[in-house]
C-alpha cells in the first residue's frame, strides 16, 4: 500500500505535507449545580441570575467540590478506557480577564483526575486509535459581551464556575475527517454515559485545536499553533484546513512558524494571531490552598464502573455478532444511544434485516428532511415494527409500504389501520390475479407474441402493467409466477 486513498496531504511543487492535529476538547459536565458552588448550570437564564457569592468571587468566599462532577469525570475516564488517578490536585491558573472573577481558574495541572486512555475511530478505510493524554476537571469562565455598547464590555457570570472536563488527545489526528470522527465519537461516548450532553449550539462542547505540519515521512513534529475555542466540527475542519495551508506556505516560503495562540474568524474563514508575544502568558500554576488533594478509593471507582452502560464500541460488536449487521450499518446505528435503543425496540418484534434497511434508509432520510432527532420521530419503534411485519407477511409490498410510511410520518398512526382505511392491502388471491393478468395479456397481444418469439426483456413490461392496473397492490411474487405460466 504505497498510496492510501484517504490520506490527507497538502501538496506544493515537489513536497507533500502531513498535518498533525491534537485536540483539547472542553466538555461541559452534566450536573445540576456548579463545580465549586451551589448555583444552577441551566442554559439560557437571564444574565447573572445563576451566580452565587462564590462564583462572583466575593471576599472570603471558598470553593467546595461537587461530588457528582467528580463521578462524571471518572465515568468519562472509564468510557475512554483510561487510567483513573486516585489522587488528583486542583491548581490555580492565574490570569486577569473580565469574565474570570477570581483572577484565576481552578483547574488541574500536574495531577489530573484521569490519565491516559484511547478512542477508536471508524474510518472508511478501517479503524484508527487515537490516544487520550489526560482528562481533568476545571471551572468555566463567564461571558464577555462586546457588542451591547460602544464604550463598554458587559459581563455575564452565569457560566462562571460550571464544571468542564478538558479532554486532551495525543497528536494522533491527521485530517479534518479524522477530527470530525473523533469529536463525534467522543460526543457519542459522553452522551451514552450521560456525562455531557454534547450540545454544541449551547457551547457544551468546544475545542482548542493544535495544528502543525511536517514533510511526509518526517518523524519530527513541526511547530504547532493553537486555535482557541472553536465551537463546531465544521469550523474545526475549516480552521485546520486554513491553518495547515498557512503553515505550509510559510515553510515553502522559507519562513519559520511561531508557536502561538490563534483565533478562527468564522466570517473570513481564516485564523489570526490572538496575542502579541510580549504579552506571553505565564499562568503561575500552583496548588489551590483552599482545596485539598482529591482522593477517591478503589471502592468508589468500582461502584461507578457498575453504572457504566454498554458503550458504542461494545454495542457495535454485539450488533455485528448477534444481528449480523455490516460494520457500516452497526456504526450508524450505535452512533448515539437513542438510535440504538430505537433499533433494538423495532427488532424486538420484527425482522432485523428489514428493520436495519428501513431505519438507515427511509427513516433517517425522512427525519433529516424534517430536521428531527430520532427521539422526535413521528413514527414510534412499535409502529415501524408493525409496518415491517406487514411487509414480511406479504400483507403489503415494499412499494406500498413506502406509501404507508409516508402516511405514518404525518402522525403516529398504526400502519394496519392505514392499510385498511386506504385499501392498500396486497392482492394475493391467485384467481383474482389470473383475471388481471389475462386482461393485461389480452390488451397487449402484439407484445405477448414478441415475448414468446424470444424478446424476454418484455417480461418486465408485463409485470409493470399488472402492477399499474392493480394500483400497486398485486403481490409481485405471485404476479411473476402466474405471468411466467401464462406467457
Amino acid at each position: 500500500m504505497s498510496k492510501d486513498k484517504s490520506e490527507y496531504l497538502i501538496n506544493r511543487k515537489d513536497n507533500q505535507y502531513e498535518v498533525v492535529i491534537g485536540l483539547e476538547v472542553h466538555a461541559q459536565v452534566t450536573s445540576e449545580s456548579k463545580l465549586f458552588s451551589t448555583s444552577s448550570t441551566k442554559f439560557g437564564a437571564e444574565p447573572n441570575t445563576q451566580v452565587s457569592l462564590v462564583d462572583a468571587a466575593l471576599p472570603g468566599m471558598l470553593p467546595v467540590i461537587n461530588e457528582y462532577c467528580v463521578k462524571q469525570a471518572i465515568k468519562t475516564g472509564i468510557g475512554l478506557k483510561a487510567k483513573i488517578n486516585k489522587r488528583s490536585v486542583f491548581d490555580r491558573k492565574n490570569y486577569f480577564y473580565a469574565d474570570l472573577p477570581q483572577g484565576y481558574q481552578i483547574s488541574q495541572f500536574k495531577d489530573p483526575i484521569v490519565g491516559e486512555g484511547k478512542v477508536i475511530l471508524d474510518m472508511p478505510d478501517g479503524q484508527k486509535e487515537v490516544g487520550i493524554e489526560r482528562l481533568h476537571l476545571e471551572q468555566d469562565a463567564g461571558k464577555s459581551i462586546h457588542d451591547l455598547d460602544p464604550k463598554y464590555t458587559f459581563v455575564d457570570l452565569n457560566r462562571s464556575g460550571v464544571a468542564l472536563m478538558e479532554i486532551v488527545s495525543k497528536p494522533d489526528l491527521r485530517s479534518p475527517d479524522e477530527v470530525n470522527a473523533y469529536v463525534k465519537k467522543l460526543r457519542s461516548i459522553m452522551r451514552y454515559l450521560g456525562t455531557c450532553d454534547g450540545n454544541m449550539q449551547e457551547g457544551s462542547l468546544r475545542a482548542d485545536v493544535n495544528v502543525s505540519v511536517r514533510k511526509k515521512g518526517s518523524k519530527e513534529f513541526g511547530t504547532r499553533c493553537e486555535i482557541k475555542n472553536v465551537n463546531s466540527i465544521k469550523f474545526m475542519q475549516m480552521a485546520i484546513e486554513y491553518e495547515a495551508n498557512r503553515q505550509v506556505d510559510l515553510i515553502e516560503d522559507g519562513q519559520s512558524i511561531d508557536q502561538e495562540t490563534r483565533l478562527f474568524d468564522t466570517k473570513k474563514n481564516e485564523t489570526r494571531s490572538m496575542r502579541s508575544k510580549e504579552d506571553a502568558h505565564d499562568y503561575r500554576y500552583f496548588p489551590d490552598p483552599d482545596l485539598l488533594p482529591l482522593e477517591v478509593s478503589e471502592d468508589f471507582i468500582e461502584k461507578l464502573k457498575l453504572e457504566i452502560p454498554e458503550l458504542p464500541d461494545e454495542k457495535k460488536k454485539r450488533f455485528i455478532e448477534k444481528f449480523k449487521l455490516s460494520p457500516y450499518e452497526a456504526t450508524i446505528l450505535v452512533s448515539d444511544n437513542e438510535t440504538s435503543n430505537y433499533f433494538e425496540n423495532v427488532i424486538k418484534k420484527s425482522d432485523v434485516k428489514l428493520a436495519t434497511n428501513w431505519i438507515i434508509g427511509e427513516l433517517f432520510a425522512a427525519l433529516n428532511e424534517k430536521n428531527l432527532e430520532i427521539t422526535e420521530s413521528p413514527i414510534s419503534a412499535g409502529n415501524l415494527s408493525k409496518l415491517i411485519n406487514l411487509i414480511k407477511d406479504g400483507t403489503i409490498s415494499g412499494k406500498i409500504a413506502k406509501t404507508v410510511f409516508e402516511h405514518m410520518m404525518e402522525g403516529d398512526k398504526d400502519p394496519k389501520k392505514i392499510v385498511e382505511e386506504k385499501g392498500l392491502k396486497q392482492e394475493s388471491d391467485p384467481k383474482a390475479l389470473e383475471a388481471l393478468i389475462d386482461k393485461v395479456i389480452d390488451d397487449n397481444r402484439e407484445k405477448a407474441t414478441e415475448y414468446k418469439s424470444g424478446k424476454v426483456k418484455l417480461f418486465g413490461f408485463f409485470v409493470g402493467q399488472v402492477m399499474k392496473v392493480s394500483a400497486g397492490k398485486a403481490n409481485p411474487q405471485l404476479v411473476n409466477e402466474i405471468l411466467k405460466k401464462k406467457l
Binding site: 449545580s33 451551589t38 452565587s52 473580565a98 455598547d149 459581563v155 482545596l291 488533594p293 482522593e295
Partner: protein
Amino acid sequence: MSIDLKTIKHISKLSRISVDEKKAEKLAGDLNSIFEFIEKLNELKTDNVQPLTSVAETTLKLRDDEVKSKNIREQIIKNSPQENEDYFVVPKVIE
C-alpha cells in the same frame, strides 16, 4: 541573584499593577533585600523531601449536587463600581 528593572516591569505586568520608573526602582531595592534573606533556603538540601501544600490533615470533602444558591443578582451586582441592573460593566476589552 539580583532582580532588575526589566523583571520588575514583567512582574508588574503579570500582577496588573502599574509601576513608574521611580516605583520600579524602589521595588527592585526592596525585593532584592528580601530575596537576599530568602536565599538562605538554598543552604538546605531538599531533593528527597515531599512538598507540603496543606497542613489540614484530612481529605477533600465532597458535597451533594444540589442547587442551593438561587437568583441573587441584586446582591451580586450591588457593590459593582458601574451601575447596571443586569451586568457587570467594564471598559471595552481590546484584544
